[in-house]
């Protein structure tokens, strides 16, 4: 999935004739003199500062602050927000915009429904934070409309939906219909999975979008025009050392097998599990199912994956080599865990990829890992894989173990824990 920052989404929305608050994007670099107030607004008017990061519930997490349009106060709050963004391990910008006084919040979204395989239009007259608790009886109160993509979103159907949702004023129904049709156009042209306007607020001047989200189908980005693609790359969240992007490149032009690599947020894990964490581990699995089961078992033993990685579908040894180097280049890892399902893929290829990576990374020890390492090979050509590990001397260290078909995920996790005890 590809995400755009809020300020980029608002630009798209504004171009479709939907009102958004006036604002400006602030970057940290070259701002030693502090942050200037918004020129478009009167002096000391209330403004909102929003961190442009892909994090939900920003208000609750202190990533949205309110201020007055005055330089000292604004600068102080900007610096605080930049500091909080850095603490999350992200790079980012701030959106400074006018605070809009409103009397009612609405919710409007379009989502690709996996059940009907059609776009689904969602509306609630109770928008804002925690919308799931705002409806009648404290429950989620959504009006839904499944859209036939050949026909598109119809104004008539929207009129009845808003009436059902309790909107009585004809002018408001017309305006909401116009906004919905424009949002559907954005959803289609930007190849979205999900577009959300929340809150869509009612003011004396009409409707304003105060916050919006967009998720774009990564597999459909080739349909976007060059301008749209440029906007996407500008909005890409910077994550650590760009390891996910590097891993993404492995599959980009090579259809032979898959490499899915995702880094975990260690800060959230630390705050949730604290002292229960024995170590973060580099993780690779052949098969997502076995990967999830193995991660559960590892966590039970106090080992938290630093990443998730699935290398299945019979990838080439070169793919395995490249992703293994990426996994082991992560910071904070105290061990490495590799597991396969009872796989039909050629595991001797997989083994060669790992061996080459280990020989390059641990060149001082001729490929013998210096951190607790467990390999579990089960499936086609697994005996050949075992032979290769022996032949290349990867298993010579006391902290390395290779298991075979007789092992289970639970047993492997326990064996891995023993390696840490011995170490």
């Amino acid at each position: 999935m590809v995400y755009l920052n809020e300020h980029q989404i608002k630009k798209i929305i504004f171009r479709k004739g939907i009102r958004v608050p006036r604002g400006a994007v602030l970057r940290e670099k070259g701002r030693k003199q502090g942050f200037a107030p918004l020129k478009k607004l009167p002096w000391s008017e209330a403004v909102v500062l929003k961190a442009q990061v892909p994090v939900s519930s920003r208000l609750k997490k202190g990533l949205v602050l309110f201020s007055r349009n005055l330089k000292p106060e604004l600068s102080q709050k900007c610096q605080l927000l930049f500091k909080r963004i850095k603490q999350l391990g992200l790079g980012g910008e701030l959106l400074l915009e006018e605070k809009i006084a409103h009397h009612k919040e609405h919710y409007l979204a379009l989502v690709s429904d996996p059940v009907t395989k059609n776009p689904l239009f969602l509306y609630s007259s109770h928008g804002g934070v925690d919308i799931e608790k705002k409806g009648s009886g404290g429950a989620l109160d959504l009006e839904k409309l499944t859209i036939d993509p050949w026909v598109g979103l119809q104004a008539k159907a929207l009129g009845s939906l808003f009436s059902r949702a309790g909107v009585r004023d004809g002018g408001k129904i017309l305006e909401l219909t116009r906004i919905s049709l424009m949002t559907y156009e954005i959803y289609r042209t930007w190849q979205c999975h999900f577009v959300e306007l929340n809150p869509l607020v009612e003011t004396e001047k009409g409707f304003y979008v105060l916050d919006a989200k967009m998720e774009i189908d990564e597999d459909a980005t080739s349909r976007l025009n060059p301008g749209m693609k440029r906007m996407l790359s500008a909005g890409k969240p910077k994550n650590g050392h760009g390891l996910e992007e590097k891993a993404g490149e492995i599959d980009r032009h090579d259809y032979r097998g898959t490499v899915h690599f995702l880094q975990m947020d260690t800060k959230s894990v630390r705050s949730a599990y604290g002292k229960k964490i024995r170590a973060f581990v580099g993780f690779n699995a052949v098969g997502t199912g076995v990967g999830l089961t193995a991660m559960d078992e590892l966590v039970r033993n106090g080992f938290f994956p630093r990443n998730f990685c699935d290398t299945s579908g019979n990838p080439t040894a070169s793919k395995i080599y490249r992703v293994t180097k990426i996994i082991l280049s992560q910071d904070e890892i105290g061990g490495y865990f590799f597991i396969t399902c009872l796989s039909s893929q050629q595991l001797d290829h997989t083994a060669r990829g790992i061996i080459k990576a280990f020989k390059e990374i641990y060149w001082k020890t001729h490929g013998v890992p210096t951190i607790p390492t467990l390999f579990l090979f089960r499936g086609a050509w697994d005996e050949e894989a075992h032979r290769l590990f022996q032949e290349h001397g990867i298993l010579k260290g006391s902290q390395t173990v290779l298991l075979g078909r007789e092992s289970t995920e639970q047993g492997a996790a326990k064996k891995f824990a023993e390696l840490f005890k011995n170490g």
Partner: protein, 88 residues
């Protein structure tokens, strides 16, 4: 190669090699070998197909076997740079 990597063979080193380990496990060898030994040196088995077409399945066996049993004449590299920061 198809993935964008490059195979380099320092054939001077192969002059003294007796193992010819690079062709030992060339995975396609039973069907359509990529490497063959010609006049005592490794060479492409066919000239009408380029390895970057996907003919080479990138099993890395030639490089690993050459390292283990041969004269370390083969190097396979990719252009990307990966930061070396993990625990070593």
């Amino acid at each position: 190669m198809f993935s964008g990597g490059t195979i380099t063979i320092e054939r001077e080193k192969c002059l003294t090699c007796e193992s010819h380990a690079c062709v030992r496990n060339c995975v396609s060898s039973t069907l359509d070998p990529v490497l063959k030994i010609e006049k005592g040196l490794p060479a492409l088995a066919r000239t009408d197909v380029k390895p970057e077409s996907g003919w080479c399945v990138e099993c890395l066996a030639c490089e690993l076997d050459c390292q283990l049993l041969g004269n370390q004449a083969i190097r396979i590299r990719w252009p990307e740079k990966i930061p070396a920061q993990g625990k070593r």
